[in-house]
Symmetry: C2
Subunit: 470 residues, 2 copies
Amino acid sequence: MTTAWSHFEAAAREIRALESIDGLAGWDQETFMPANGAEARATQRAALKGVIHEKLTHDRFGELLERAAAVDGLDTRQLAMIRAVRRDREREIRLPLRLVTEIAEEQGRAVEAWKIARRESRFSLFLPHLKRLIALRCEEADARGHSGERYDPLLDGSEPGMTTARLRPIFARLRDGLVPLVEELTSRPPPRTDFLSRDVWDTDVQYAYSIDLIRGIGFNLEAGRLDRNDGANAIFSALHEAGHGLYEQGLPVDGSPLSNAPSMGIHESQSRLWENFIGRSRPFWSHWFPQLKARFPEPLADVSLDEWLGAINAVERSLIRVDADEVTYNLHVLARFELELAFIRGDLKAKDLPGAWNEKYEKFVGIRPPDDRQGVLQDIHWAGGDFGYFPTYSIGNMYAAALMQAAQRDLPKLWDDVAAGNPRALLDWLRAKVHTHGRAKDAEQIVIEATGEGLTEKHLLSYLRAKYAV
Amino acid sequence: MTTAWSHFEAAAREIRALESIDGLAGWDQETFMPANGAEARATQRAALKGVIHEKLTHDRFGELLERAAAVDGLDTRQLAMIRAVRRDREREIRLPLRLVTEIAEEQGRAVEAWKIARRESRFSLFLPHLKRLIALRCEEADARGHSGERYDPLLDGSEPGMTTARLRPIFARLRDGLVPLVEELTSRPPPRTDFLSRDVWDTDVQYAYSIDLIRGIGFNLEAGRLDRNDGANAIFSALHEAGHGLYEQGLPVDGSPLSNAPSMGIHESQSRLWENFIGRSRPFWSHWFPQLKARFPEPLADVSLDEWLGAINAVERSLIRVDADEVTYNLHVLARFELELAFIRGDLKAKDLPGAWNEKYEKFVGIRPPDDRQGVLQDIHWAGGDFGYFPTYSIGNMYAAALMQAAQRDLPKLWDDVAAGNPRALLDWLRAKVHTHGRAKDAEQIVIEATGEGLTEKHLLSYLRAKYAV
């Protein structure tokens, strides 16, 4: 290892370490932090983001980077590191420090305003902050640079390499496939779901059961944690978060610039894969349902495996994205994508957003929110200035479908393993094909190498059609 | 506000924000972080401490500080800010960056080794790390500077302004007062305590009750949180941590360099005051015991208020500091102080520490640990390189006693309020006399202004003698 390389790598690791502290501060903010901590946290994160910006854009770091890049005989991993860091630096160097800290501070304030606005269902309390965030992030997009599509640099921030032009036709075909599917499925007689809302789902028992479940899919509890949550739904939250956790546990642990995810979409593919493709499947519950009944004799006394599967896969037109089933879920995302694209392009004014939201829901999901709390104010993302983030949820679903398709091809006994309560081979496959790369390759490149093709809606649609027998 | 001042203040606030993120990372590390996160967290914190060091010691920051200090007509608060920041900078500037990050990294590794060593009760696994930490922190002490007493700069790191020479006679008198007190109290027939260990203390009920309790003493749950904990003892942990929390909630919230505690001792005084002086008092439980019985009809069915008070104030010779009663507690601390003073002075070799520990316990507490797990390996502090921290626990107890003494003088109805379940006047008094100052004054100066005198053991001893009628 040359001196030039080791100096560069040490500096890059330092930046990566600071980024991961910001990750901790953000995670705490969304989980444990008491409400009144918001302003102080915004100041803290603005300071930290400022430091990261300074380090990344510093001339000295640029020199270290270029000297390391010029070293002879770098291996694939080192070249990937140069590429990843150069990309981060080039993105960041275009932004004035002032803008970085202003955005971070405004995010903190906006989230607080949004919390109150949502509680009182009063969009007007949130509007000035939303306007300001849109203005700031448009300024950021222009500073980062684009060829006419301002949304692109924002999308690229969450899903590096993805563009609006590529995404729109895929999303359009996805929507065209989903709308009739929802039409068909919601016209069937609804399954029995009464037992899910019985108030006898003891939190402690549910927690203990969820621990068993996530351990069962391979989650390492020495390297991750599960927090408490209420209700039957908590089981699926646990599987979802464990999916994210399995991915994090499989990433390179070397603290290098490659030790994180190449995109939010690939991250989400891992959570949705375990939550839905595995966690709402018949083979999975053929193993786990008897244990569930043993843990919850009361609420499940009169419930059969078929009824349980029917309930956890019930499809309905609903208002809240995070409660949506896996068929309608993407329509919630597609609505948000079109709305944020419109306001970033300047085609939709922030003040007109609630009305536009309601129309879009009527058109996409087939249901109209009665108030803004259950409409435009339901998600934290826009309050956090996260424009260009929502699409990664559907990208994640499409990647998950493609990966499952390929995994079934490569692992003929996959479903037998799942039904035996031991999906280790699938986890190993995901580790090898996805997790282990970290950021050494672009997200789509990882998917191409694992499945043979890039982002497409077709596996997701055919999976849903097959599962729901449409 | 002049430009010189506002530039300085902005830079100082940035540093303060970064320090408080490190506080978050440290809190998470000790509470929620899964074990495998230790190495990554050590790297993260080392990077962050490195950044703080760079900022604080940067020439440019020194210029900003001196230009701000030269501004005409600064008010008291501004002068206090200059003093606090100058002190931080002067301490830090003597340390090479290499030493700062080396210590942070070694702390992370040492804590992990200590965890295993404690689990297996094998001091030898921890020994090489302890040696290394002692060497590094001695190097730090020498770099910071001292007049022959190497322990002083370490003590000063936790209790600014305090010296070994001032502390030793006070601690000696405290020990001389406590030893016969423990002798006398442990010769009395032991109170009934069987019900404390009954396994019917439901966690959820206990948690709900603790929430009531801490709300009752004025803790703001919008600005703080309480986590779950098991057993009857959790009530006192809740009061202890709420005491720390009340202090934090009362500190200046302006994010300035004055917005934190002037010392760990003063911080601890607030937790111990609520946990022990109030929370183990008869007036407090005359209000809260009926509610406790209502919540826990099973374990407390046959328990009277007197029996409850007897149990929660039982004095016994025990091995574990954190489980110790308020009389013996300080003897645990004094033993640690003498040991760490000895190994920092070079009078005690790290390898001889377990034996020295056991002897000291026999002499001070009157009981000999059967193994190192219950002896020298019980606390995390030394593994975290925290030498000079333990004394602040007893300083806190002494400050708490002095503050309670003065509060009773200033608030004749204090105990009536406590017995009525409303100790708001005491909290307001603490806010005005202690919390609101933040770091604008030294800890001892705050206590002198509130009580009329500096650090002394006498109020703590007379409180204990009166409470236990000796």
